[in-house]
């Protein structure tokens, strides 16, 4: 397994690295939209979690299972309801939220089946995206948003402020916010203001029920 781990360490995204550090070792974790399983692999092997995954793409699932991860082919929007209440300590949704149709429903399900929801997403309020739209007249395309508009799986375009507004509306409690700027520098924040919404390229939220 050693060569794979080395590769994984090289390929892991910064938000995944941050999420991994937030997870208590030995806890029960569900990674929703776990992709090729890099984060789950890290959590299982380095943090000794009881890790499970759901992934929509067959290619992703096959890759995960052939690496010995407990991953099922499924859809976050239709398959979370099968899990019992409080089955997990953490339910992770990394970079998947913009592709979700029923955002409220999925967040609600994550916090029904898990004690904490850990959500990472790209910030459409980031200044480069704003200036790209304002001055170049182009839709967002950056390292954290690497898709052309016609191929992007993303259907929800929201900013950090939009997201905190939604959490307030849903009456959910934000336990922790870590923002990542354009240089990949992470900052823990108590709240999101105008500047952080402008300077943050992507963010990780830890959310609980009140």
């Amino acid at each position: 397994m050693t060569p794979t781990e080395t590769n994984n360490a090289a390929r892991i995204r910064i938000d995944q690295q941050l999420i991994a550090e937030m997870i208590t070792p030995g806890s029960r974790v569900l990674d929703v939209g776990c992709g090729d399983g890099i984060l789950l692999d890290l959590l299982v092997h380095d943090r000794q979690v009881d890790g499970r995954g759901i992934e929509l793409s067959q290619e992703g699932v096959n890759g995960c299972v052939s690496r010995g991860l407990a991953v099922v082919q499924g859809d976050a929007q239709t398959d979370l309801h099968n899990y019992p209440d409080n089955a997990f300590d953490y339910v992770i949704l990394s970079q998947t939220l913009p592709a979700i149709f029923d955002v409220k429903g999925v967040l609600g399900e994550m916090l029904r089946i898990g004690r904490c929801a850990v959500v990472s997403f790209p910030n459409f309020g980031y200044w480069r995206i704003r200036s790209g739209l304002a001055f170049r007249g182009r839709s967002p395309n950056s390292e954290s948003l690497p898709y052309t508009w016609y191929e992007s799986p993303n259907i929800r375009f929201f900013t950090l402020t939009d997201f905190t507004d939604l959490l307030a509306e849903l009456g959910l409690k934000t336990e922790r916010i870590v923002t990542i700027d354009g240089h990949g520098k992470a900052n823990t924040r108590g709240r999101i203001g105008h500047w952080s919404n402008l300077l943050t390229e992507q963010a990780v939220f830890v959310i609980t029920r009140k």
Binding site: Q58, S66, G68, N82, P84, F88
Partner: protein
């Protein structure tokens, strides 16, 4: 201890002893139910009776490296060696063996011929000592639960307290699920392939066609055909032909045979096997009767029909896996219409509902239900990865 805790119906009475007729096969034989008979789900008591099984590889010192392979309807214990009757390769020789996906250099592989089978385990062609004649239809009805209960006795006989894995395709998947549900503490991981937690109406229907084909053969004679050594081969062959179609897919048949003619340039305006597919099915039917007993076919298809894991739980599947410590890996195949992906997904949902550890993949293939017996590199790769991951977690020392 040797009885099965399942609540049977009614009649208990005297235990049914079974005298084996097939005794010269390679592999191992074990007499069960001699001291305490085994209670069948039907309520009848069975014992003493014989089961035959085969093993590959070596059981390690702490007996932690055993993999139980459960065979399908027409399979048997000769997983990874030439078949003693037909001489053809073992049915999972691609998968089980030294250096293969189920590596017999690392694992001790066990396969037990199912109860009601015809390769050395107690079945309808064995002798009923009460009459001195072969049982025929007087053999008690066997369920998947009974088959697994007998396998458990074999596993205990080998001194194994926990199987590293139980694996099987089709009816083998049913047994695998039964194992995980009924004896979860004895199963570290379970790999049901192309299976279901219940036999569907369509599948019961196909089985009924097969059984009626056997029973319509005059030579079947109510199941009492053994004396004359004149088995209902036509009926059994037709049953096999019909079943064989369900193991393939429309596209596989089209790719392999199309409308190609068999050894002729034009259709013959008759009922000879003009088409290659006809010739192929006839061959399948003919070669099957060499090695299979028609009454066994009736009994085993019935066992599959009766299988429904949720039946004991008010048709609710999740309680069958409540608090399961077993690590599951379910595998289905896209073109399998006999045990379609939806059946595997139903099991996955039930396992999710009890927060069990589960992996589930659907393999893209046009080979239909039979895919689990064929060369499917993606299937092998996934199975190998799952086993490696589970062996790591189980801290099984592995040579590979």
């Amino acid at each position: 201890m040797t009885t099965n805790s399942h609540d049977g119906v009614g009649h208990t009475g005297e235990s049914i002893a079974v005298e084996p007729t097939v005794t010269d096969l390679p592999g191992h034989r074990l007499v069960l139910g001699a001291d305490v008979p085994m209670r069948l789900v039907s309520g009848q008591l069975l014992g003493p009776f014989t089961v035959s099984y085969q093993t590959y590889g070596v059981l390690n010192a702490d007996k932690s490296n055993a993999i139980l392979v459960c065979h399908a309807l027409t399979g048997d214990q000769y997983v990874a060696e030439s078949h003693p009757v037909t001489g053809r390769p073992g049915w999972w020789e691609r998968l089980v063996g030294p250096g293969l996906t189920i590596n017999t250099d690392d694992y001790f592989v066990i396969c037990v011929n199912v109860l009601a089978g015809c390769m050395g385990s107690a079945g309808p062609k064995d002798i009923d000592p009460r009459t001195g004649k072969q049982f025929g239809l007087n053999f008690p009805l066997i369920t998947i639960t009974d088959m697994v209960a007998a396998q458990r006795l074999v596993v205990e006989h080998l001194g194994i307290t926990q199987l590293f894995a139980v694996i099987g395709g089709s009816m083998g998947a049913m047994q695998t699920l039964e194992w995980a549900s009924r004896y979860p503490e004895m199963v570290y991981c379970a790999i049901p392939i192309a299976g279901a937690a219940r036999h569907s109406a369509q599948n019961i229907a196909f089985h009924e066609v097969g059984r009626q084909a056997i029973m319509a053969d005059p030579k079947w004679a109510g199941g009492d055909y053994y004396d004359d050594n004149d088995a209902p081969e036509r009926g059994l062959a037709v049953a096999r032909m019909a079943a064989h179609i369900t193991y393939l897919s429309d596209s596989a048949l089209h790719t392999k045979f199309g409308r190609n003619l068999q050894d002729r340039q034009a259709i013959t305006f008759g009922f000879d096997a003009d088409f290659q597919i006809e010739s192929y099915l006839r061959h399948q039917g003919r070669s099957f009767v060499e090695r299979f007993d028609a009454n066994s076919y009736l009994y085993i298809t019935r066992a599959m029909d009766y299988f429904d894991l949720a039946a004991e739980y008010n048709d609710n599947l999740p309680p069958a896996f409540e608090d399961s410590p077993v690590r599951f890996c379910l595998i289905s195949f896209t073109s399998d219409w006999l045990f379609p992906t939806s059946e595997s997904r139903r099991i996955v949902h039930a396992l999710n509902a009890v927060a069990a550890s589960v992996s589930f993949v659907e393999i893209e293939t046009e080979s239909g239900h039979d895919a689990f017996l064929l060369e499917e590199p993606e299937f092998f790769r996934i199975l190998s990865g799952f086993l490696r991951g589970a062996a790591d977690q189980r801290k099984l020392a592995s040579a590979s």
